[in-house]
């Protein structure tokens, strides 16, 4: 089975904060990480390979330092890694990112399944997965927390999909793109053997001129339909903490209940 995993390098959690005093961004120098949801995608790829055999290719689009995310993926056990990096890709929004990734995937050759995290924790859009499925014209299955069954010869898959109201069982045809949520598995740590391999592994680089059939006008900042015009700090929570003190828990609970009722939100 040919498995593709798309990963993104993101700033480590909680690195970006707003300084309330002067409204500026505070950045702690925390190292970049693989987007947490993409870790589940890598792990699911490894589990599928254990079951069905085959090859896993990890792809990341980003600046040159994203190579570290790919090395980490190799350390977890993926077979091949491709870094999609070029000045021509800089400033890509989710549309241009999905377009670029789709061209890279078309170059790799036939595949059975693409795994992505449900969204990245920096942009929080969750749009690249659906965009990629559409660009490639394959089955789209989002917010997956379980692969119930996969039949590579019949080219079918049965998954459980998380909705606001509960979850649903969906059957689909391969090739398919899945975006996965946290519940799907517990990502493994890198093994020593894989870590050694990741040090030696050559990461393949793809630049814009490598892409077959590319429309250069659809790449990067120029090809991105959306533009960020302003970044600002979120509105502060109004009101200050009213800490409730009383002799007994019952009295404290009574005071709190009255105050909540007075807010007229019940």
């Amino acid at each position: 089975m040919n498995i593709i995993v798309c990963i993104k390098q993101v700033p480590g959690t909680a690195v970006v904060k707003i300084n309330p005093a002067d409204n500026t961004l505070i950045r702690e120098d925390v190292p970049n990480i693989i987007n947490p949801f993409d870790m589940y995608a890598i792990e699911e790829g490894l589990r599928l390979r254990e079951k069905f055999g085959g090859k896993i290719t990890a792809i990341s689009m980003g600046p040159p330092q994203a190579v570290n995310a790919l090395k980490e993926a190799v350390g977890m056990g993926v077979d091949e890694a491709i870094l999609v990096t070029d000045r021509a890709f800089a400033g890509s929004d989710s549309w241009a990112t999905a377009y670029t990734l789709s061209l890279v995937i078309k170059m790799i050759g036939p595949f059975d399944i693409i795994l992505c995290g449900k969204q990245a924790i920096d942009g929080d859009t969750g749009q690249v997965g659906p965009g990629l499925a559409r660009q490639l014209g394959i089955t789209q299955l989002t917010y997956i927390f379980k692969i119930q069954k996969l039949d590579p010869s019949a080219k079918t898959i049965i998954v459980e999909r998380l909705l606001e109201e509960g979850h649903e069982i969906v059957e689909g045809k391969l090739p398919a793109l899945l975006t996965v949520v946290k519940d799907i598995n517990q990502p493994r740590l890198s093994s020593l053997a894989n870590l050694r391999r990741s040090g030696k592994q050559k990461i393949r680089m793809v630049v814009a001129s490598d892409l077959i059939g590319v429309d250069m006008a659809r790449l990067g900042l120029n090809g991105s339909p959306t533009k960020v015009i302003k970044i600002f700090s979120p509105p502060k929570r109004d009101g200050i903490l009213d800490m409730i003190h009383a002799d007994t828990n019952e009295k404290a609970a009574a005071i709190l209940a009255d105050k909540i009722i007075a807010e007229k939100i019940l």
Binding site: P11, T13, A14, L25, R27, F37, P63, Q65, A90, G91, S94, W95, D122, G123, D124, T125, Q127, V128, P130, R134, T139, Q140, L141, Y143, I158, R161, L162, L163, E164, E165, G166, H167, E168, G172, D183, A217, R218, G220, L221, N222, P225, T226, K227, I229, K230, I231, F232, P234, R237, L241, D242, I244, N249, E250, A252, A253, L256, I260, I265, L266
Partner: protein
């Protein structure tokens, strides 16, 4: 090489741009700002420069189409099991305002099976026109049949704005539709407005787990598409007198052309889902175990709310992932959020800090949850939560 160009002659070295860069791509070298590889070309710094020393390559419109051909505001009316979702009414309300500002009509796209009653509802919430697509193949949401039908309608009728809910279904659908139409899609918006001069849609959304807000436009592509977060816009009052045209439309795909089947649905949560919940009672590490959620469930029941949880309680196996609130779970915005035994890690706050009223109950007076709370009690949740349940039972009967 980064995209951003810095005019060294103009740069004052004031550092304003360094402060606003979300990626840490700008640094001061001597008294001039330099840009490094972390730059994504997002443009956040451009406005911060007092002397216009920062520049991104000029954007050439790639679509030669006449943008003025695109008129009207569209809303996708999400339904589940044949009932219109709350989020659809919320965005109809905001869509109405945008349509009025643009002096145009509001169109609702109702897809489903036996959903004629939803067309009436959409009109009562402000739609002037409804595209009604009723077919067994649309009974349960699936990407392909919904996307293909909306893509065809959008190509034919050319809306200038198209809004969908930022739900699992809405994000699944919008990402597919916008890709095919080659247009901009802004995810999970918490603000939508019309630029009074240019007449374009200004979309505001949180990023980096809600730590920064970004304003986004889609200047050269149409429709301007956005998914909208639950419970950001108020549900408008239904007006049974409001009139609208219902236009019957056939779906674009037949059942045979669809590669997926939804075979079962399992309801895991109570009837109230977290995204739509007005009241949420959430538990964290402090509840101590699966049994520890029982008093929280009782309180939620009395208040008519839903039960949520922090990541640690989910990771410990005390409650299912569907309940998780925070960066790797759901983002919620209830009127009342009661955090019980939740310390308030930044990842959890990212998922709930825009709740209207936050109540924190925690043993530790220094827990960061109190920093965002409106009301707090320091103490044992196993004493306080049942007492609170009792109080509400008594007081709300009156």
């Amino acid at each position: 090489m980064p995209l951003l160009e810095i005019d060294k002659d103009k740069c004052l070295g004031c550092g304003n741009c360094i402060d606003v860069c979300p990626f840490g791509a700008l640094t001061l070298e001597g008294d001039i700002v330099v840009v490094n590889e972390k730059c994504t070309g997002c443009g956040a710094c451009l406005e911060a420069c007092p002397v216009a020393a920062l520049r991104l390559p000029a954007n050439k419109p790639v679509k030669a189409e006449n943008l003025t051909e695109y008129r009207g505001v569209w809303v996708w009316i999400e339904q589940f099991h044949g009932q219109m979702c709350d989020i659809a009414a919320e965005i109809l309300g905001q869509g109405r305002k945008l349509a009025d500002l643009r002096q145009t009509i509001l169109t609702a796209c109702v897809l489903g099976y036996n959903v004629e009653h939803i067309t009436k509802k959409a009109i009562s919430f402000g739609a002037d026109r409804v595209f009604w697509v009723d077919d067994p193949s649309l009974a349960v949401y699936r990407t392909a049949p919904y996307a293909e039908t909306l893509i065809r309608l959008a190509r034919l009728h050319k809306p200038e704005i198209f809004l969908l809910g930022a739900s699992s279904r809405g994000r699944d659908l919008a990402g597919s539709v916008a890709t095919d139409l080659y247009t901009g899609l802004t995810a999970d918006c918490t603000g939508l407005d019309i630029d009074p001069e240019k007449g374009i849609l200004i979309q505001t959304r949180p990023a980096f787990g809600g730590n920064i807000m970004a304003m986004i436009i889609c200047p050269d592509h149409r429709p301007q598409m956005a998914t909208v977060r639950h419970r950001v816009f108020e549900m408008p009052p239904a007006d049974p007198e409001h009139q609208g045209d219902v236009i019957t439309v056939v779906p674009s795909l037949t059942e045979e052309q669809i590669s997926t089947r939804v075979t079962d649905f399992i309801q895991e949560l109570d009837k109230i889902n977290l995204a739509d919940a007005r009241i949420i009672v959430a538990g964290g590490r402090g509840v101590g175990g699966a049994d520890g959620f029982e008093p929280l469930q009782k309180l939620a029941q009395v208040l008519g709310g839903a039960v949520g949880s922090s990541r640690s309680a989910v990771d410990a196996g005390w409650i299912s992932y569907a309940h998780q609130i925070g960066q790797t779970g759901r983002t919620v915005r209830p009127d009342l959020y009661i955090a019980c035994g939740i310390s308030g890690a930044i990842q959890h706050l990212a998922g709930m800090k825009t709740s209207r009223i936050i109540v924190a109950i925690n043993k530790n007076a220094d827990a960061p949850i109190f920093d965002v709370a409106n009301y707090g009690i320091v103490g044992d949740l196993f004493q306080i939560v049942p007492a609170l349940t009792q109080q509400f039972k008594q007081k709300m009967q009156k």
